[in-house]
Amino acid sequence: MTEPLDPVIHAQARLRVVAALSALPEGDLLTFPRLQEILAMTAGNLSVHLRKLEDAGYVEITKTHHGRTPATLIRLSRRGRLAFDDYTAAVRSLLDGADPTGST
């Protein structure tokens, strides 16, 4: 196959994070606990993956306050959305292509 799949997204956990966030309408942010609930990950594990995605510029993390309680809000950046679209397209073309295993 031509180009390798985006290594930032091409890992079970981060693919799940990005896929879940991609279901959110653009311009919306999701709270950390709800994202955690959707993904059924531990808070620590999710934080690690979010940091990697943030470092790549795929995810934007906003810390804010609701009254006294701090809240963390997450969304895909425009770049993240594009990367996810490219990734899905690449996966589709792998599946449509000659290589039936399509691994890595």
Binding site: A11, R16, A23, I38, N45, V91
Partner: protein, 213 residues
């Protein structure tokens, strides 16, 4: 090393595609209210409320079931108020974990429902006493259903929900036909065709959401 190493394993293309589909469906279900809670309370309100209206103010001034003149409209409006609260609470509860554009849209849309019904109530209330009871019923009924239909269209446009747009058109058209045919018939048409439209739309939208498409 950290605990994320296990799921750092790259998936195969097929696995990746399944993962994406599952995760998106799961996320959509988690961030959207169950469509049945948005449609079905209205269907039930119409079925019962317009059912009563039909039985008391049947076509050609027939009284199919004797009951006080004020009762059917009261039942209808109490049930519609309940539907408004149930669908509103369901929408708001799901919006709690989402911030941003949708939150503003949702709040504005919710407010539009209350404002619209307030306007209808005040206007229809003012002229009600001037009309014969059957026409009074038709005025309240026709206005409220027309407003609900318009709000379905607006909601469908806001969230890109095709089912909601189709339901809005259906309810709007059926309402106009009913009002033209006259008191009694209007109640019967909305209690059956209108309510059925909401039941079908809720069912279809819920299935679509669960499938994640």
């Amino acid at each position: 090393m950290n605990d994320s190493d296990v799921d750092d394993r790259p998936p195969s293309a097929a696995e990746a595609q399944d993962l994406i589909r599952e995760q998106r469906a799961l996320a959509s279900r988690s961030i959207s209210p169950d469509p049945r809670t948005l449609y079905w309370p209205w269907s039930i309100a119409w079925l019962v409320g317009f059912g009563c209206l039909y039985l008391r103010f049947g076509p050609d001034d027939q009284v199919l079931v004797p009951m006080p003149e004020w009762l059917p409209l009261t039942v209808l409006y109490v049930m519609m108020a309940a539907a408004l609260v149930i669908s509103g609470v369901s929408g708001a509860r799901h919006a709690r974990h989402i911030k941003g554009d949708s939150q503003v849209k949702g709040a504005t849309y919710g407010f539009a429902w209350f404002l619209g019904f307030a306007g209808i109530g005040v206007s229809a209330g003012r002229v009600s006493d001037l009309l014969p009871p059957a026409e009074t019923g038709l005025l309240w009924a026709g206005l409220s259903v027309a407003f609900v239909a318009a709000m379905y269209l607006a909601g469908g446009a806001l969230w890109g929900e095709r089912d909601m747009v189709i339901l809005g058109v259906w309810v709007g058209v059926v309402n106009v036909v009913g009002v033209l045919v006259g008191p009694g018939w209007h109640s019967l048409i909305i209690a059956t065709a209108g309510a059925a439209g909401g039941l079908v739309a809720g069912y279809v939208a819920a299935r679509r959401l669960n499938r994640g498409s």
